[in-house]
Symmetry: C2
């Protein structure tokens, strides 16, 4: 995307993610154009894209609203992500190159450093975690899968999930990545798929616990 479109897209997306535009709010193209300092044309383009990514929904009468997400919606998004990132991991295990494996290890080492400090560096975690998953997607070599997953992982709820991670969650995430690396090194697609699916499912419960007050059943040990 080009200058003004990109500007409008990232700014509107930012307003939704930050909560400046609350779920359910109606949004008008002209107002957004003023906010972004561009004309309505690139704003409309950004809105169509945000709509396809489900940040925004449109009424049957063509009005745009900030999407709101029920618990079912949220679980829905995670189930799909689990399924598709699992598939990506399975495919990646069969196709990954040694160079990609090395890159993957480097990213996870960086994650390890970020989460083992006295005060974990969440920003660094997010950055390298993103790279880690992108390398897997690249190794999966399925443009269509990449295309579809991009629509899921950019969604507001998924984004906010990482905010609710505590130190233990971050470190477990790092360990699960190590499991994935082991599965990739052995080119074991089934293993990689299982680990990835569990990894995503775990993220869902972490989110649900933090945002919805649900507490896991007590563990009798």
């Amino acid at each position: 995307m080009s200058r003004a479109s990109e500007q409008a897209y990232s700014q509107i997306r930012g307003m939704i993610l930050s909560g400046a535009l609350p779920p359910g709010d109606q949004i008008r193209e002209e107002w957004l154009a003023e906010q972004c300092g561009v004309s309505r044309t690139p704003v409309r383009e950004a809105l169509r894209r945000l709509e396809s990514e489900l940040f925004i929904r449109r009424s049957e009468r063509q009005r745009s609203f900030v999407a709101d997400w029920s618990l079912d919606d949220i679980e829905d998004a995670f189930v799909l992500r689990e399924l598709m990132e699992g598939l990506a991991a399975r495919r990646a295990a069969a196709r990954i190159t040694t160079a990609q494996l090395a890159l993957l290890k480097a990213e996870n080492d960086a994650i390890g450093r970020a989460v083992s400090a006295a005060t974990p560096d969440v920003h660094a975690f997010l950055k390298h975690n993103k790279c880690f998953h992108e390398i897997i997607l690249e190794a999966a070599a399925s443009p269509r899968l990449t295309n579809l997953l991009a629509r899921l992982i950019e969604q507001p709820v998924v984004w906010r999930t990482a905010q609710s991670y505590d130190v233990g969650d971050l470190q477990r995430s790092h360990r699960e990545h190590n499991e994935l690396l082991a599965a990739f090194a052995r080119q074991d697609g089934g293993w990689a798929e299982s680990v990835m699916a569990g990894h995503i499912r775990r993220a869902f419960h972490t989110y649900a616990d933090a945002h919805l007050g649900k507490k896991p059943a007590a563990i009798i040990s």
Copy 2:
């Protein structure tokens, strides 16, 4: 979408599906605008949508081209469809209402009539087949799944698949739908998922056989 946008979208899509715009061809917005009798604005909106549906790809320098599909691309699309329609069937089995089940049966009965005639009515088959799968998607009650699948099932190759069906393929498709109905009636998600996955996988091989000259290995019976 509104009048001119819809016009541009369906007309361009039609040109690609019919082969009037061959794979790899560069397409210019102004030329499309003339062809469709609208201005560039709605054409651009249609192009973005077709791009997201992978009918069109854009070069890194913003030029648009009709997408061409390798065998790997095609199998890729089918694998994703198999996965996602399988998931839809599993979810639908757990959620389907008796009213939806009745609708589904009515559609499949119509398919049965279309394929059992002396000369099968392929057009009627396509219409009711589409409805059949849409009802399942509706019963799956996952807007995100519906959203993502819509991008897959509208693609050129998938569309052309039905063209290569012979009478036997059409009738087998009808029988597989009956299996699905049985699974739904028993709310057996695992069964529904398996049948659906096989149904889609079969469609891939039918396409591959017809379009790529591949022949199945001889059956020793």
